[in-house]
Amino acid sequence: MSARSELASPPARARKAAGTSQATVLYDLPGPRARRRNAIIGAVAIVGIAAVIAFVAYRFWATGQFEARKWEQFTYKAIQRELLAGLWATLKAAGIATVLALLFGALFASARLSDKWLLRAPATFVVELFRAIPLLILIFFGYYVPLQYGWPLPKMWALVIGLTLYNGSVLAEIFRAGINAVPRGQSESAYAIGLRKNQVLRLILLPQAVRAMLPAIVSQLVVLLKDTALGFIITYPELLFVGKQIGGRLTFGLPYVPTYLIIAAIYIGICGMLSVLAWWLQRRMGRARRTAAGVVPIRDFGDGDAGPL
């Protein structure tokens, strides 16, 4: 991985010209004619995109989405408190699930890395199973099944259980890949100088693996945070559910559109910051020569990166 990214560095001059490093591999520095052509295509594209945005904005305006009464309620403290309460519920569920998923992941990753078949096999089964079940169904299990046996679980825990099982399983795979990314020679030489198994793990493998895994972990946590939005389906009062309540008030002309736009902005803001953190970590890790382990690519954990489920 690190070797590849080094190779991929295009000439500095080209990088400067194009802004991004990958893009320049595919085309020459544009000459005057190409520049003109690119400018024309670019202008057409900008006009096209602007036209679409303008059309959407116009229709929203024409159907009264920007009407004062649909937005006015957001200037009131009562509504802001509602939104904040929803945000808090989202962050609380995400926070608890993050801690539990990290523990779950660590536990099952170590079981999968064990040399004992009896530990490895069930752990593999569990991890593969929970990665294959849609998160929504896991949340339903958490909500309906305890109820069926007369043991009601607060909705938040139904959500947290679902999030933990799914994201924990994905994290277990990330951890495993991170440990495996440390070259074999390292653990072999560690064993050769007489370190015990847990010393090898603790002193040699983990410190390097953690650096390698960090970006992938953070981006999985973004997925987890977004997934809390599924709580609305079991009426857990998270951000989206609160949005449904606010948007469903007929006295304000059913302001679903303004409300969902505001909620989208909040999600994009928070997840965006986490994504930037992941991206920054990846760059940092990729640059650091101190670790022998290649960075675990964020994208390779497809199940996780394609989002909610």
Binding site: V222, A229, A264, S275, R299, G302, D305, P308
Partner: protein, 218 residues
Amino acid sequence: MNEFFRVLTDNWDLYFKGFSTTVNLFLNAAAGSLVLGTLLGAMRVSPIPALRAFGAAYVNIVRNTPLTLVFALLVFAVPKLNVNIDYLPTARIALVVYTSAFVCEVVRSGVNTVAPGQAEAARALGMTFDQVLRSIVLPQAFRSMVPPMMSVLIAMLKNTTIAAGFSVLEAGAIPFYMSERGEPQFAVLLWITIGFLILIIPLVFLQRFLERKWAVAR
């Protein structure tokens, strides 16, 4: 145990309807997001800054929005644009809009795995951007793209369950109807799980097979 099987046989109509809608959603949305995602991926590596910026903005906005919210916006905001789309097509569009951001990223990182020397050699022969992409880079990038692409598609298959909250009777909506029918939810959910395993396991095996096959060839 008999009770467990009865849940399936008594409600076979619902399971069949639910899972066929799920498969329908999956196939349509998969085709759609591969096309749109590849297009976006091409934008992101293109020489035109405006397109690159648009691709990047699209990916970053969509990827940081919960799919549920994408659904909600499509169901409640799109009618304001004076277009009337039925609920099943709306669900397809929502899945395409969301998944293509991930497909785009797979395409982009796939392109990056091709040794730069190859593209440079092609350019030295005087090939244009789309010739380089079409004849040199994509055919090779394709191999490294297949496993992550499969992951994206598997995730999308599971994502189809979110349509349950937006008036589409697919597998994820089955529990609502079963609650109405008074069936034991544990059995109901187990059967749904089994249904998804039946759909997903072959995809996972295909993915691992392709991964192994092409990992050697590299």
